[in-house]
Symmetry: C2
Subunit: 709 residues, 2 copies
């Protein structure tokens, strides 16, 4: 069995795990008729939204596929389509599981907390394993086909270009899905809260609120489908970029050895699927009844088991000798050993663990940051927001330091390839991390269904307990995703600079572009790159504000035209609200999503026209790094700050600083509303944005070198 | 008359203008006894704060002066002390004028709007001319002494090091003054508003509020003294860095020609003081009674007159031939002409004009951004803040594009020196711009005094009208300051890279540090640099929150212990509140101010120890650029966003969306509170922070090269 087929087998195992676990989940009881009716409405809305979103993305996708075909050839076009379809599929399947598990979680919570946790976590695990499994399957199969049946050398340009095109397909879908879903979920959430909680004075998830179904649909299309597409993309891009970088960078090795090296990321991905599956079986409430503890048991089991597992596959993949030196001229180094690669991957695992821990510190209710926001709520809305912003700014510091140390250590171990392997090891845990995240929207929905169906109070207490933990796990995944995206983007940037060297003469460059920081075109590129996340964030926030405002108008209109809704004698028109949010979200997602696709192209051609081709490439390279640097901070601050605001509200609701209904609580609700588009729309969408900018630059380079542009 | 003595004469002219105009302002009537009593309390508080602040800074200053003396020699130490003392003096004198003009503006507003405007603007103009005049005088005198009586060549290292030390002195004072004043003013403001407006339900500036005097003191020590020290620093650093860069970069010219070139920034500064003075006489209400229009008349007169004035001094300074080519090897160029330098300076003026216009768009009540925040206030606190954050993110885009175009055009004209001259031309208008800004706190105080002294309603209406414009002019100055700081910092960065080449062998470097973007130490440096403004911002915001909370406790305590205060039968203890805020602000300013001083030193030594000396310098250089890039966005977004929030509140108070007291107004007050530390504490302090990081790096380099460390 070759390494690629081992990886494919692990991918299939993940898919099988998904299928079997789905049957288990679907076999559990779906509750009474009211509950099933509510769940059906959510299902219908989610399906309608996703259908329309994919139709819109499909149009963009077809246009881009034709462009890829024209500029880069048929293999790249196939890669692009494969990446796009599987990214979409990951989101679609995840959503489908999610909308079926929500009602079953509510029903299971009538039995016990453990039962509810089991159903909800299994639902999350299905999405997690499918994301990791499909992603690994896509790359492994593609690589296996190209270097096997298609008989290409692993360093052949067609292989490299096709892997980049595969990543591009995944990224393009994911930015639309992340942003569209993010706008949908937060527009519905903000709109529902503003009219429901604030104006009409009815509780969250009250069935009289016409936006309540849209709010629940949003959890599924944003936090589940959008997130799944995003993490699928991160996985494909990271593993793909690592393989591409190896192909570009490692000289002085034969095709067989190169193939071994390029297969190592696949092998690591494969073995970590197995450790992730084992981890899922460890999620069980202990005597302390701590839900977070149960979830962490799963995560840490996976992380710890991955250490010997990675060591073993590295040993096997590299031919049984970890001391053997590979390569002759490796990024200025003299070659590196299996041990160096192994330790680089351990750096990746350490970075993952530390970022999880730091994010928990900044967003958990047990620590200073969240409590300081809760305390600041006592003196009003303004001080709550000020303290939240302060926390969001501060929360960037430790992750940045961890990433910097990670970069330096991995680089010392094995140069740029060390950084690439660190990123790969981070992503190898994606199955488990996505499982923790996808668990969130299921419990959120379960709580909503329990409320709307008028289930017993203790059921709602249990679903609330499950849901509270979801806030932290969601924040943790985002920190993890953006941290790994930072490393992956550096790998892409490394590929860009290597590609420039490779294509130097094909591009008609007399000398390589001057990437020196004192070149003003580099400075301009850095500034323009740094601008992109800000502009993108502004667009995302404005979109939520605008779409949320439309929801407010709609709900006010329904209350006005049909007084029976508030009296409880007639039902609101849920579908009309869902339809409105659907249209608004799709309309609003287009422009910002195109920003990172078009910006690199425009910057290259404009600066190239002014300062010459070499400076065009220099400015473009600096733009890539500018996006990474600035995007990391914007995304980290938004996702951590948003999570902290959310949990500060929860902390007050747990009876601190006056509890529910107090003035402090009102201020905390404001903070939570502000944090919503921060953490669920603009912040996480920066993650695919960073990578798509880098990938477009790589593709542009290839197209230019092939003389096609 | 040499150019340096011409510049010194212009500096003296500015000081004379200040003295004469002071006499005019002080001669105008100071109102009735109540008014004078209130003004005296503000004066006393401001003096007490500034006294204590300067004592604290003095201790830091003496320690640093000793270090400079030890590592860099006596001339540098003198430069440092001169810069520090004059920076402090600019703030001190500005504050002294401001606290005397406030009551006179209130009294003049009893006559007419024009009278009030005249007194307030004259007060601002005094500060403006003193800032520009003292700054020019300091550099010109120092340069004249070193190249004249001290008989040093203009390119002598002592001259270069001393100019950098002069800038360091100015910067070090200014970061403390900006941050300390910013924390004071916003802690008092937020605290007074929270207890007064929100809890006790008394209007702003109500004399029963124990924090009301502290609030008015804050306007003077933050918006006036802090701002003046900041702009003094920006002026000294920009002109000084331009001269240093010329000395480092221009080869193949004799001492006389080099002296001509180095004097040109001084000549431009001098002639623009004259155009600024002329501009101040054009500030007059037209038939439209538009206050903003009157102020802009002054600004545009200065800007337009500066074009021929700069052309003339360039012609004279460069020996009467603008086509003559200077220099042989200029940053890869073949030398440049007077015309090239002139046009570079026109780029600077154009950037200034555009940034003023863009800032007005983002913070003025007539345009989309502010109105969108006002509209979003209708749906509550949360949507107000969301829209405000969206505007603050978006507001970075156009200024960045303008700066990028400015960099490219100036570079095309005259290389790095073109960028330096563009920055110098921007700063040459500082006298006028500071005049517009310093006008703000005077009118703000005048309104407070009118309220507290119970003056007629129409007086308060007039002072309110004067004050509303102050919000926009304050935002405009901040946009201008940060834009020019971005360019100035690039010039400092250029000096750093040139210095590295110069000291290459003295530093024991085998080859120059690798500033290539693909060097991971460069990436780490960029990340760490980008982190600094975030961490600094977090510290500033937290400080305001903490100190504001202390004010809330204090005021609540006074209300509780002395019920006569609310009844109006006994006076609150204003002095105790002032004293509390003073202590809190001084305590809170220390740590964040030391961050940019220590960070470059730590990064150099830590990275140097891990990756070798060359990579230490590479990471340090990247850190400088990271601070510039990230700081520009953090500062622009904070200052514009804060201004927009403030004016959205004003727009609602003008009767839109329900007007004063409506729910929308309450939401807008929240936004305003959030914007306060954004725009007046954290945002503007980023400006000196960027430069101090760069200057410390330059000094470190020199100290290392001299073998002193």
């Amino acid at each position: 069995m070759t390494i690629a087929t081992f990886a494919m087998a692990c991918g299939i195992l993940a898919v099988l795990y998904g299928l079997l676990t789905s049957r288990q989940v679907l076999a559990s009881p779906a509750g009474n008729e009211t509950m099933r009716g509510i769940a059906a409405a959510i299902q219908e809305g989610a399906q309608a939204y996703l259908g329309r979103q994919y139709r819109t993305i499909g149009i963009v996708g077809v246009v881009v596929a034709v462009l890829v075909l024209y500029f880069l050839g048929v293999t790249s076009a196939i890669g692009f389509v494969l990446g796009a379809i599987l990214s979409g599929a990951a989101g679609y399947i995840g959503m489908n599981i999610s909308v079926r598990s929500n009602v079953r979680t509510a029903e299971a919570a009538r039995q016990s907390l453990q039962s509810g946790l089991t159903v909800a976590f299994r639902a999350g695990a299905i999405t997690g394993m499918l994301v990791a499994g499909l992603a690994l399957l896509a790359i492994a199969t593609f690589f296996w086909y190209l270097t096997g049946p298609a008989d290409l050398a692993p360093s052949d340009r067609t292989v490299i270009d096709s892997l980049v095109a595969l990543a591009f397909g995944a990224s393009l879908i994911s930015i639309f899905a992340r942003l569209g879903g993010g706008i949908f979920t937060k527009a519905a959430d903000v709109g529902a809260d503003l009219v429901g909680k604030v104006e009409a004075g009815i509780p969250e998830d009250d069935p009289r609120n016409p936006a309540v179904i849209a709010d629940n649909v949003g959890d599924n299309v944003g936090d589940c489908a959008g997130m799944a597409a995003d993490l699928f993309e991160t996985y494909v891009v990271t593993v793909g970029a690592t393989m591409v970088l190896i192909a570009l960078l490692v000289k002085g090795v034969g095709a067989a050895e190169l193939s071994q090296l390029m297969s190592l990321p696949l092998a690591v991905g494969g073995v970590c699927i197995i450790t992730s599956i084992i981890g899922t079986y460890m999620v069980r409430l202990g005597s302390s009844q701590s839900i977070m503890g149960a979830l962490y048991k799963g995560f840490w089991t996976t992380a710890i088991l991955s250490v010997p597992a990675i060591l073993a596959v590295t040993h096997v993949t590299l031919g049984g000798d970890l001391n053997a030196v590979f390569g002759a001229d490796l990024d200025g180094q003299g070659g590196y050993t299996g041990w160096a690669l192994f330790w680089s991957m351990m750096v990746g695992l350490a970075v993952t663990g530390l970022i999880v821990w730091i994010t928990e510190y900044y967003t958990g209710t047990n620590y200073r940051p969240v409590r300081s926001i809760a305390k600041a709520s006592e003196t009003g809305h303004g001080t709550n927001v000020i303290q939240g912003l302060a926390v969001s700014l501060e929360a960037t510091a430790l992750p940045t330091l961890v990433i910097c140390v990670g970069i330096i250590v991995a680089y010392q171990l094995a140069g740029l390839i060390g950084i690439a392997f660190a990123a790969t090891a981070m992503l190898a845990l994606a199955g488990m991390v996505v499982a923790l995240d996808a668990y969130g929207p299921v419990t959120d929905n379960a709580g909503g269904i329990a409320e709307m169906a008028g289930l017993e109070d203790d059921v709602r207490t249990r679903t609330d307990a499950l849901d509270a933990v979801g806030n932290t796990t969601k924040a943790v995944t985002k920190g993890y995703a953006i941290g790994s995206a930072g490393l992956a983007a550096l790998v892409l940037f490394g590929s860009y600079t290597e590609d420039l060297k490779y294509f130097n003469s094909a591009l008609g460059l007399v000398e390589p572009p001057d990437f020196n920081l004192s070149n003003p075109y580099v400075i301009v590129g850095l500034l323009l790159g740094a601008l992109l996340p800000y502009l993108f964030g502004a667009m995302g926030m404005t979109a939520v504000g605008r779409a949320g405002g439309a929801v407010v108008e709609e709900v006010r209109g329904q209350f006005r035209d049909n007084p029976g809704i508030m009296a409880g004698t007639s039902k609101p028109d849920y579908a009309r609200t869902v339809d409105l949010v659907t249209k608004a979200a799709i309309r609003e997602m287009i422009l910002p999503s195109l920003l990172p696709v078009l910006a690199p192209i425009v910057v290259y051609f404009v600066i190239g026209a002014i300062g010459g081709t070499a400076n065009g490439f220099a400015a473009l390279g600096a733009l890539l790094l500018g996006v990474i640097v600035s995007g990391l901070f914007v995304a980290l601050s938004m996702t951590s700050g948003g999570g902290a605001w959310d949990n500060a509200k929860k902390y007050i609701e747990d009876g601190h600083h006056g509890g529910k209904g107090s003035e402090a609580h009102k201020a905390a609700v404001t903070g939570d509303t502000v944090g919503d588009p921060y953490k669920d729309t603009a912040g996480p969408a920066v993650n695919p944005m960073i990578k798509i900018t880098n990938i477009v630059a790589l593709l542009l380079l290839t197209a230019l070198a092939h003389g096609a542009v």
